[in-house]
């Protein structure tokens, strides 16, 4: 399926026109995008590093995972909303950028991983779960979100 017509439409849409015409609005969107990415990364890191027993060892990992997940959802919604706005302004350029597609693939994998695998696992009492499984899950989660961030930054340095 060729998605080019969709990307061409995105660039001519109202969001695309606003992003292209008003540099200040684009800059605000990008800043909010980066700040929400930082929040998202923070929730991922605090949960996963706690599962690896690296940070906050005195605090219950169940409590950290539950509280962090609430903010993860907020950050994800803002990241997606601002990301769509930013992509609209440069949609056709993004379409031809391989790192954009790598980012989208790792983002999709990250979202599926969180909601289909990690959250159902961590919603159970952690002391009933295998520590080895918790640690491997934490490493995979860090790697996935690292890939989202790194491929996202790579977009800016390619094409």
């Amino acid at each position: 399926m060729d998605l080019l017509p969709l990307f061409e439409w995105m660039e001519t849409s109202l969001l695309g026109q606003i992003g292209k015409t008003y540099g200040g609005v684009y800059a605000i969107g990008q800043s909010v995008h980066l700040m929400s990415l930082a929040l998202l990364g923070g929730t991922v890191l605090v949960t996963d590093l706690r599962l690896l027993n690296i940070v906050l060892p005195g605090v219950s990992s169940n409590l950290i995972a539950d509280e962090a997940h609430k903010w993860f959802k907020v950050a994800l919604i803002v990241v997606l909303a601002t990301g769509i706005f930013m992509a609209c302004a440069v949609a056709v350029r993004m379409y031809y950028n391989p790192f954009y597609w790598a980012k989208m693939a790792s983002l999709a994998a990250g979202i599926v991983f969180v909601f289909a695998i990690k959250r159902p696992l961590l919603s159970r009492p952690h002391d009933e779960l295998s520590p080895m499984v918790l640690k491997v899950t934490a490493v995979a989660s860090i790697l996935l979100w690292f890939s989202v961030a790194a491929t996202g930054r790579w977009i800016g340095f390619s094409g």
């Binding site: 790598a102 994998a109 991983f113 695998i117 990690k118 159902p120 696992l121 159970r124 779960l129 295998s130 080895m132 499984v133 491997v136 899950t137 490493v139 995979a140 989660s141 790697l143 996935l144 690292f146 890939s147």
Partner: protein, 44 residues
């Protein structure tokens, strides 16, 4: 605890996590290889 059988949820999490770790390792080593090749071409 150590000898407890893993639940289905744990097995699914373990299998997908291992798949993610392997995929990420392969992807990033290919990317790093590409960058090193380009640096060699540019600077010898």
């Amino acid at each position: 605890m150590e000898n407890k059988k893993l639940s289905t949820r744990e097995i699914v999490a373990l299998a997908s996590s291992v798949a993610i770790i392997i995929t990420a390792a392969i992807y990033w080593s290919i990317q790093i290889d590409g960058v090193m090749e380009m640096l060699e071409l540019a600077y010898g």
